[in-house]
């Protein structure tokens, strides 16, 4: 399945093995059934930093299974004021 990944606020693909290494917006092909936590692992983005993740514009937990065509947006909590 193909996913569109959009990373914000300093996040980028940290997996040097991938063609999208260092990129903030890309399409990635993954096995059907991959969930959000696995996607973050694959991209080398630590999930424990409290990332906010939207799938097709809606908040989803790390256990959310992804399907072909999903658009995933990921950013850290931007909480200062």
């Amino acid at each position: 399945m193909d996913l569109t990944v959009r990373l914000f606020a300093g996040l980028k693909c940290e997996n040097r093995e991938l063609a999208c290494y260092g990129q903030k917006e890309f399409i990635i092909e993954l096995q059907t059934g991959t969930n959000l936590g696995q996607l973050l692992d694959f991209l080398g983005i630590p999930a424990e930093m409290g990332k906010i993740i939207l799938v097709n514009g809606q908040f989803k937990p790390l256990t959310q299974d992804l399907i072909d065509g999903d658009q995933v947006s990921i950013f850290p909590p931007i909480g200062g004021g």
């Binding site: 959009r6 914000f8 606020a9 300093g10 917006e25 930093m49 409290g50 906010i52 939207l54 097709n56 514009g57 809606q58 908040f59 947006s73 950013f75 850290p76 909590p77 931007i78 909480g79 200062g80 004021g81």
Partner: protein
């Protein structure tokens, strides 16, 4: 109600705009906006709303001015150190525009006082520096059906969106739970001018809502990256299971 000669002179650059004119300026004069927080975001929001002639401008802050604030909180000066921010802010804004009604409140927003704090206003601006306060205000605004203009900053980055109750997603559709302690650096580093950019966008959103002009950031989270100098948007959808504006249990 009409504009006096001094107001016509002060707001000349508004009056010549098709989108504002005298009718729009009178709408601004009748506008009631409360800004919660008078720090990095609150400073530009309040400066621009006061200058624009928003007739009733509330400001809420229970903090005092610290030397480490002055790198970004441009309402406050070195001579204001240790003074209540709400008082310091009131003085600057009243100097800027004595023809509007500015109401300072030295108070921390809590679940118990939020409804009362926003009750006299039509629009609420989030210039707070923490998620728990934002969640309290979001919930109060959804209950009261009032627009809530959210801004946040971190380092070289910022975000802004406008919550329109009943029309689009609320803040908790986006951020289901406050980040766990440690997920947000405390205190977070931030470039002062980033607060200026985000706060200025929040001020424009308030002006547009009052005027009924243009498209607002409802259902759109605008992400600002000052390092690469980009603005990118995320379309955000209302979550039917949201505990605040949907069918969840926490209403």
């Amino acid at each position: 109600m009409s504009l006096n000669d001094r107001e016509k002179k002060r707001y000349t650059r508004h009056l010549i705009l098709d989108e504002i004119g005298e009718e729009g300026q009178l709408r601004l004069k009748n506008g009631k906006v409360v800004v919660v927080g008078t720090g990095g975001l609150g400073s530009p929001v309040l400066y621009y709303l006061a200058a624009a002639g928003v007739g009733c401008l509330g400001l809420v802050d229970n903090d005092s001015v610290d030397l480490s604030n002055l790198q970004r909180q441009i309402l406050h000066r070195t001579g204001d150190l240790s003074r209540p921010k709400a008082v310091s802010a009131y003085e600057k804004l009243n100097d800027l525009n004595p023809e509007i009604n500015i109401k300072p409140l030295i108070e921390r927003v809590t679940a118990d006082n939020a409804d009362e704090i926003i009750s006299g206003y039509d629009i609420v601006v989030d210039a707070t520096d923490n998620f728990p306060s934002r969640f309290i205000l979001n919930k109060a605004c959804i209950r009261a059906g009032k627009p809530f203009i959210h801004g946040g900053i971190l380092g070289f980055f910022g975000q802004v969106t406008t919550i329109m109750p009943g029309q689009g997603p609320c803040l908790q559709c986006l951020f289901r739970e406050p980040p766990t302690p440690g997920a947000v650096p405390s205190p977070p580093g931030v470039v002062g001018a980033v607060a200026g950019t985000i706060g200025t966008i929040q001020a424009v959103e308030a002006v547009k809502i009052i005027l009924g002009a243009g498209d607002i950031l409802s259902g759109r989270l605008l992400m600002y990256d000052s390092l690469e100098l980009s603005f990118r948007e995320i379309t955000v959808k209302k979550d039917p299971g949201c505990p605040v504006c949907g069918s969840g249990e926490d209403r």
